[in-house]
Symmetry: C2
Subunit: 149 residues, 2 copies
DNA sequence: CTACAACTTAAAGTTAACTTTAAGTCAAGA
DNA sequence: TCTTGACTTAAAGTTAACTTTAAGTTGTAG
């Protein structure tokens, strides 16, 4: 099966201009052309693009993804380096997850805060609530918001 | 306790220019000035800034955070609206967590892939491995990378 | 064979969230 | 009082990752 840039973009849920941009940036050295110069994407290119998309979601920049693609093009010599790269990405994403969980904790605290304010008709109530009256899981979070040290 | 822009920036781990930018964008209507025109940050402003930072981490834009701050300034009339805002942020962050988990699954698959390739000396081995030979938790992920539908 | 949608390129434009610069002012220690 | 580091502002600059535009080409359906 092969696809034009528009078809592949649709399959991936991105704009055709994004795929052309990726190619210009050297991310798609494996994409071939028809005799007339039209890009020809294959199913294997879809897999490449899913990996590129994954690396982007881990927070990697285009220029670093290009380096990774170059490593891939060099073949089995670079397996160790590519393994190390993904292990680093794993640590990075796990860190992002932890940070996002902390953000979620804060948001949950604020939901509790406004639910309590709503029930009372005023934010004075959650504002002035002593530590022993708030739900146990909210105590640490409020402390963090107030001092962070 | 009060702080200059530089001191507060340090406490928050951001650049002073970022705090000046936030003020210019209307995020800090509560920050006062000395007689000479120097910004005076208080401990309560630190709490505001932690909430602003939290909202930023949920993916909210400056202009939308400004709207939230305005709601706060209007007082208890807007409690419901603010609760709804945080509930929406909660759903948003939970969605981000799910997406990040999917990204992590893919990264973990690639770690397995390169560990297997490393042991074999070639990517041919994980490439050609039949479904029944790969770890059970990798099967779905490889399928997703190959087709997504 | 023609029309036309979708392709091609290079170059310029967009956007958000800051950062930098330049020229000047404030305020605390010596 | 003087020096000096940190403050002030407005305006211009930065960066990444695209998107848009303009002018032209390809390829398929009728």
């Amino acid at each position: 099966m092969h696809y034009t840039v528009g078809e592949m973009a649709k399959k991936l849920g991105v704009a055709p201009s994004a795929l052309r941009y990726y190619e210009k940036e050297g991310l798609l050295p494996f994409v071939e052309r028809s005799e007339g110069g039209i890009r020809v994407f294959r199913d294997s290119d879809y897999e490449w693009l899913k990996i590129i998309s994954c690396l982007k979601k881990t927070g990697m920049q285009i220029k670093d993804i290009r380096s990774f693609i170059h490593l891939c093009m060099l073949g089995d010599e670079t397996i160790d380096e590519r393994l190390a790269l993904f292990q680093k990405r794993k640590a990075e994403v796990e860190k992002q997850m932890a940070e996002l969980q902390e953000t979620l904790d804060t948001v949950n605290f604020k939901c509790w805060y406004y639910e309590t304010a709503k029930a009372a008709g005023t934010t004075e109530v959650p504002n002035n609530m002593p530590d022993e009256d708030l739900p146990p899981d909210m105590r640490e979070i409020r402390k963090r918001l107030k001092s962070e040290q």
